[in-house]
Symmetry: C2
């Protein structure tokens, strides 16, 4: 078998079969829609751009995918680098959102970005502060529901919109909302997450009745303002039947 010398003709036939005149290398990046619930308000991590284009505008954190990593690994790495978060000491959840590839989305060159949704667990409503990343950009938590999304840099407003829809939608039929809380949490804290994301108040009694089958009680109780509440962990990733998101 000719193992040594078929590498080159192989790649040549590969390119030929795919019509090389249509082939152009692109830069691959990741963009991160990082959510956290601070004091019952849904926030997103944004960086202020320190260079043209969109100098001074808010943008999503992100960066290039390296030659030896996939997009998911790049998302984890950039999360640390751009926000200063120590992933070893925080609960984070990352999932791919969608890829944005319009030829003109970056005015400088062909940049294709794989957007990700990141959920950062808050402890008692407190979220770790963000530090300026490896580039000088200023990073900050910003409330999402009062944000002027069209003012974001590039197509980041549309990415954020899709990220919010993904989070809100998946919270109907999965326990993904618990990723915004510590591993052990009260049902009320989870209900506060739903209120922050869906922007509605859910009746406590019925919420407990419907979410309970997806949770596992630890038996431990914690003191709050009123009666003590049990701590739960996620028992199932699925909520069946799904919670109905009240639509206006």
């Amino acid at each position: 078998m000719n193992t040594m010398n078929n590498q080159m003709p192989d790649e040549a036939s590969f390119l030929a079969s795919y019509n090389p005149s249509n082939f152009l290398p692109v830069a691959l990046t990741v963009d991160l829609v990082v959510f956290a619930v601070r004091h019952k308000v849904l926030h997103i991590a944004l960086v202020k751009r320190g260079a043209h284009p969109f100098l001074g505008s808010w943008a999503l954190p992100g960066g290039f995918v390296g030659p030896t990593e996939n997009a998911l690994a790049a998302a984890h790495r950039e999360l640390e680098e751009e926000t200063g978060l120590n992933l070893g000491s925080h609960r984070v959840f990352v999932e791919q959102l969608a890829t944005f590839s319009d030829p003109g989305r970056d005015p400088r060159m062909r940049v294709v970005s794989v957007a990700h949704v990141v959920l950062l667990a808050a402890e008692g409503g407190i979220v770790p502060p963000l530090c300026a990343g490896s580039d000088a950009a200023h990073a900050q938590w910003v409330p999402v529901h009062t944000l002027d999304t069209p003012a974001l840099a590039f197509d980041h407003g549309e990415i954020l919109r899709q990220g919010m829809e993904r989070l809100a939608g998946k919270m109907e039929y999965t326990t993904i909302g618990a990723r915004l809380l510590p591993a052990q949490f009260t049902i009320s804290a989870l209900r506060d997450v739903y209120s922050a994301v869906w922007q509605v108040e859910l009746p406590a009694g019925n919420f407990t009745r419907k979410i309970r089958p997806s949770l596992t009680s630890t038996g431990v109780k914690v003191q709050g303002v009123g009666a003590p509440a049990s701590l739960f962990t996620v028992g199932s990733d699925w909520i069946s039947p799904p919670l109905a998101r009240p639509r206006r």
Copy 2:
């Protein structure tokens, strides 16, 4: 304003700010999971590879994203080129699935692929035949549920798995299944789509009761083997409350 000469320093600072040592150009492709229901059986379009690697294996249709098109446009173009389908004369639905970027997914070079789900409408259980594409690869409809997915080329088995999960999942809460049928269809035909995708028989009476609010009757009736059935169009993209997919 220095519009003319800040292009170069701008791009330089862009690259610098993103750590250029981690930057590597990649080839961007699309892969297509093309579904159609033939005679009540869910099929997928596959091409037989005519070159190394994976010579002779089944693979998903796909190809490079051109310099002036986004991934969605490339998906439409490659669908025509690789399967010989005339998009002007068939109902097709295309939506992005996910992006696959593992460094080793193609042994020849760094290829990042944006996978798409494509739904092709069958007319009376008949699906247009596939022709060999612009490259010599042989294209064919293959029943999905009896397919040895791990035997597919590259990571196409995993892409197919995610595509099937997307289709089956979205059919719980949207009328996307109707995209596998002509614009006007009977409730029974739609139920057959659900049976083909979910691999379960759904009771006819209850299915009608639950799907009806999402459909619009045309008033026209068609003759089949039994009683005449009304033709419907999609009235709403959403099914609320969702249909419960029976799980084993």
